[in-house]
């Protein structure tokens, strides 16, 4: 008997979309729930109900997709301590680079950047586990670095290269955000979290975005505090991995981002004025708000897929 109607398929799709599981877990969980629904509908049909009544009763007894998906999310979201270590490592590595003043040695910088790129590529092509997204954020640094280096070209070349490079870099960044958002938008925010902090330090060290003797002196001076801000990010990610509830994870990113920015402004002792601070808060807000907006945009592009969503949910509410 063909049990899976579009309505039931949509119910499963909604759970799948909301529970944000890794691919390997997703297939198993969804197969299990699908088998349960098939058994249930078949039994209800055998008891004399029509197909429509059987589906309505089944969905009512299964529970709303929001509740089921939230509980599945919370059952799977907590990462292991190994994942905590892996996810916070890039922040700690960058923190160490500055705390130990290794940032001035090209060798250490190269090793760290190669490690970041290699780990990101490995994780990206091995199922995009949660820990990969904090590495992914740092793998964008070479893109920023190349953009900054273009500023050192002779003026005419710089004027020619920058209008080409920056749209390309932004397009690439957007592609990465889209790919990350497809997995779960909250990882997009997690990935972008260091950006306002790094911009804050860059503006404090060199407002004209040029490497000078004076700006290098400032890096020496601020290095322990730069290290501390990366450590704060590392601790944030560690807590994020261990938390189960989605709203707590988002709250953590927002509060920690804001506190770390405040720390940057406090330790740069007047080099960042109130307007810059407000600008950085705006960037932080963008970091948190852009991924869900991108997801909404992507989802509205697939509106047809979701058109039965409310029907399935309303069935379960009515029968509950």
């Amino acid at each position: 008997m063909q049990v899976m109607t579009p309505e039931l398929t949509q119910y499963l799709e909604n759970i799948k979309y909301r529970s944000k599981l890794e691919n390997s877990d997703e297939a198993e969980v969804m197969s299990e729930i699908e088998a349960h629904i098939e058994d249930k509908v078949q039994e209800l049909r055998e008891s004399g109900l029509s197909q429509e009544e059987a589906i309505k009763t089944c969905l009512g007894q299964m529970g709303g997709t929001k509740v089921v998906a939230r509980q599945i999310y919370e059952a799977y979201s907590q990462g292991s301590w190994k994942q905590v270590l892996l996810a916070s490592m890039p922040h700690l590595l960058f923190g160490l680079l500055f705390t130990l003043n290794w940032w001035q040695y090209a060798g250490w910088l190269t090793i760290v950047l190669i490690l970041v790129l290699a780990t990101t590529i490995y994780g990206w092509f091995h199922g995009k586990p949660t820990w990969v997204f904090s590495w992914l954020g740092y793998s964008l640094i070479p893109v920023l670095a190349v953009g900054l280096m273009l500023l050192y070209l002779p003026q005419i070349w710089s004027l020619l290269a920058l209008p080409i490079y920056f749209p390309l870099a932004l397009w690439w960044l957007f592609r990465i955000i889209v790919q990350t958002t497809k997995r779960d938008w909250i990882f997009g925010s997690l990935m972008l979290l260091p950006i306002p902090i790094i911009i804050g330090w860059l503006l404090a060290i060199s407002p004209e975005i040029k490497l000078t003797e004076a700006s290098l002196q400032r890096v020496y001076y601020f290095a322990p505090w730069i290290g501390l801000s990366f450590l704060a990010l590392g601790l944030t990610i560690a807590a994020f991995i261990r938390l189960r509830q989605r709203w707590l994870r988002l709250g953590l990113l927002a509060i920690s981002g804001l506190l770390t920015l405040t720390l940057v402004v406090y330790y740069t002792t007047g080099r960042l004025n109130t307007l810059t601070f407000l600008g950085l808060i705006l960037v932080m807000w963008g970091v948190l708000a852009m991924p869900p907006l991108v997801e909404r945009f992507l989802r509205s592009g697939r509106r047809l897929t979701w058109k039965h969503k409310d029907t399935a949910d309303s069935h379960s509410k009515q029968s509950a």
Binding site: V29, A35, H36, Q61, M62, V67, V68
Partner: protein
């Protein structure tokens, strides 16, 4: 007054472990068995059974294994582990103490005091 849903929420781990102690079962079978053995008192929102089972699995109290049925369909059977048995033992004692204390308060004349 504590709702039946709250009571079920607080006791779901013990109930699931207790059922799986008897024999390995798959999700739908668990729902039916629980309903039958409690005379219809314990009814899960069936979709929420799986997160509960997966939480137990993540804690190492049960283990899930896919099995092919004779009709060609696959089912994920859950088996209680040694850690699960130890936990059940602990929870069973806790519930018995709780029920004993509850009876002493609610029905003092029939509790032999």
């Amino acid at each position: 007054m504590v709702s039946r849903r709250e009571l079920l929420k607080g006791s779901s781990n013990s109930l699931l472990l207790c059922l799986l102690e008897q024999q390995p079962m798959y999700g739908y079978q668990i729902v039916k068995e629980l309903e039958a053995r409690s005379d219809g008192y314990f009814r899960f929102k069936e979709g929420t059974l799986y997160p509960a089972l997966h939480r137990l699995e993540k804690s190492g109290l049960v283990i899930g294994k896919w099995q092919m049925l004779p009709n060609g369909r696959q089912r994920r059977y859950y088996y209680i582990t040694a850690k699960g048995l130890a936990k059940l033992d602990q929870e069973r004692t806790q519930w018995q103490d709780f029920l004993k204390a509850l009876r002493l308060v609610l029905q003092p004349e029939t509790s032999g005091m």
